[in-house]
Symmetry: C2
Subunit: 377 residues, 2 copies
């Protein structure tokens, strides 16, 4: 089944819009929703609580509960399960254990950015019909993968929903999401960026592959190359198999840092918008990268076969960096060591400088300006 | 457009299985997932926390955080938005303000059953494509309805997800869910049923209509009667309009009870399985109902047109009772008054007795036995 991919040379490069994701269309509603959401904050006063306003627009919402902060998040997997569905025909594996980890990682890797310890999660598994569960091997993989990701992150799986939604979810498909609740305790662990400062080191934690970001592009590419998901990467792995490497869970690292007394000044989960997310914080800082992490073979493959340039690649994919920690430069080496001790490759990749808000990737001669990232109203 | 419905006489009664919901198929996976979820509880010890084991299988998951309990939940709307989509063609209204309230009510009305004050919510709005948001009126209604339901419940809208999931969510559709975090404070507000006792009064809070439970059946019925959603009920309302009455939000009532110093001994949100949910608690109690609440016209219509008997109607629909409070009989009258003062009709409908676990609806001569309700592993 595995064949070398048909080269994409001569054809147009793939863009996100061609891949079916049109951010321009979603954004007005998103902004409207963000404004309406922000307007509900005063409701918390009825209960003697208050929101941490700086968390609006960050990756998780934070409420001040007096003794500690409460963080919460709901995150969607996206379309990655469609890759698993197609790969099953090629290899016979369900891959839903990996898909489960991907889904949980979306929530876990976001909630830890604010300094929270993830406490409990809920599963949202909406299918196109009850018959989705007739495939017992797949259902068991989904459950087993979900549980093992919970165990890896030390969270309790509190419950969830498994609705059959014919007419809403596409036939034969599953819409996967996860919600997570966390606590920030002691409150000094809160990392919303107040301490971010020039001179801080940027430590990048390695990704395992595409994670769950850029999958629409990856799927479109599979349609375009002759051998599809059966294409072989340079190391002999099937394209589809490599795409389905489960997303790295970073909470063991952030928990170990806390245990070692290291509180990052800021954190960013590198998902949509790729490395542009490195300037997620609104402060006037330049994020100068001097050392690039190794790019996973599957991302090199996509870059080459889709014919996208470095700007598009680093501006939309993780390119080997799944999570960014901004730490006191004196702590940087220990952060790398702690991550490595947990099996997560890490590198001191750059530093924070005073200056215009932008990301400068020196080895590539690339700069992303502030106006190239829009994640808040 | 409005016409009297074609009578369903002579045709077979509609069942849930015909309406596309096959609980038998979902349950094995659900049980597997519940067991795996329960096995993750020890993870909380790593963070100095512990789950409240009695909350497993209840409507919200509860974690003991020392100073207070933390409750969390993720809930799906189901297929009710499909009714709104079809009604738009008839009346030109989007109805998504109501749909937003329905979605939030699924989470809010569940989380309050454990005694929690809902604190923050996240929205999950997954569409079949970015073009869903091109309909600005509908998008604005969704946002406005979500905000107004948050305000009504005193919760902060923390954020959410608006993914475009072509190939996962059906084209032109939206998959709606809500997650909610709440706190139980003081801890004496926890209502997992330890205090439930013979002699307690059962107070039923009125529903506004079908809420979001039984919608598959209601949709199937619309296909079967000639005038569909345009059929007129006895009071002249269109069937579709009546179906889209937004779900009552019960948290103002439970918060007012707490403020008045009344802690229910138990609570049940009457959703799937209808009145069988009255015996949700696992204790050996007989729930004897002596007084029936008024049945909303839309539920009377469904009962009659679908040709279902009282057992099927009360065993699957709310039949006028959206929420049940089990309270000290000495408090029952005040509970009714407090609910009424907030615009929620309530009645002392029955009482808890020692005896086999079952629901006895005396005015109908109906009994639901314990083995007719399976909501836990």
């Amino acid at each position: 089944m595995a064949q070398p991919p048909s080269p994409a040379s001569g054809s147009e490069p793939l863009t996100y819009q061609q891949a079916g994701v049109d951010y321009a269309r979603i954004d007005p509603l998103k902004i409207l929703a963000q404004q309406a959401a922000a307007a509900t904050a005063p409701n918390l006063a009825r209960h003697g609580l208050a929101e941490v306003a700086a968390s609006r627009g960050e990756s998780a919402y934070v409420v001040d509960c007096g003794e500690f902060y409460l963080a919460s998040i709901t995150e969607c997997l996206g379309t990655k399960a469609l890759v698993a569905d197609q790969m099953r025909a090629i290899t016979g594996r369900s891959y839903y254990d990996r898909i489960a980890q991907d889904t949980l990682a979306m929530a876990i890797n976001d909630i830890i950015t604010v300094g929270a310890t993830p406490v409990s999660v809920h599963a949202y598994w909406a299918t196109g019909g009850s018959d989705w569960f007739d495939d017992e091997a797949r259902a068991r993989d989904l459950v087993a993968g979900w549980r093992s990701a919970c165990d890896a992150c030390g969270v309790a799986w509190g419950g969830g929903e498994t609705p059959a939604l014919a007419g809403v979810v596409a036939e034969g498909r599953i819409d996967l999401a996860a919600s997570c609740v966390g606590i920030v305790r002691p409150k000094s662990r809160l990392t919303l960026g107040e301490k971010l400062a020039p001179g801080d080191a940027i430590v990048l934690l390695a990704s395992s592959g595409i994670h769950a970001n850029g999958v629409s592009l990856a799927r479109k590419l599979a349609e375009r190359i002759g051998s599809g998901y059966g294409a072989e990467l340079e190391d002999g792995t099937l394209y589809g198999d490599a795409l389905l490497a489960p997303t790295t869970l970073y909470s063991p690292v952030t928990e170990a840092l806390a245990a070692a007394g290291i509180v990052p000044h800021y954190s960013a989960n590198i998902t949509g918008h790729g490395w542009r997310k490195l300037m997620r914080h609104l402060g006037s800082f330049t994020y100068r990268i001097h050392t690039l992490p190794t790019v996973p073979p599957v991302l090199r493959f996509i870059e080459k076969q889709a014919g996208i340039d470095k700007r598009e690649a680093y501006g939309s994919l993780n390119m080997g960096a799944g999570f960014a920690l901004y730490v006191d430069r004196a702590d940087a080496k220990r952060v790398v060591e702690i991550a490595a001790s947990l099996g997560v490759r890490a590198s001191i990749a750059g530093e924070v400088e005073a200056g215009a808000r932008r990301v400068v990737i020196e080895p590539l001669g690339l700069t992303f300006a502030a106006d190239e990232l829009h994640v808040r109203a």
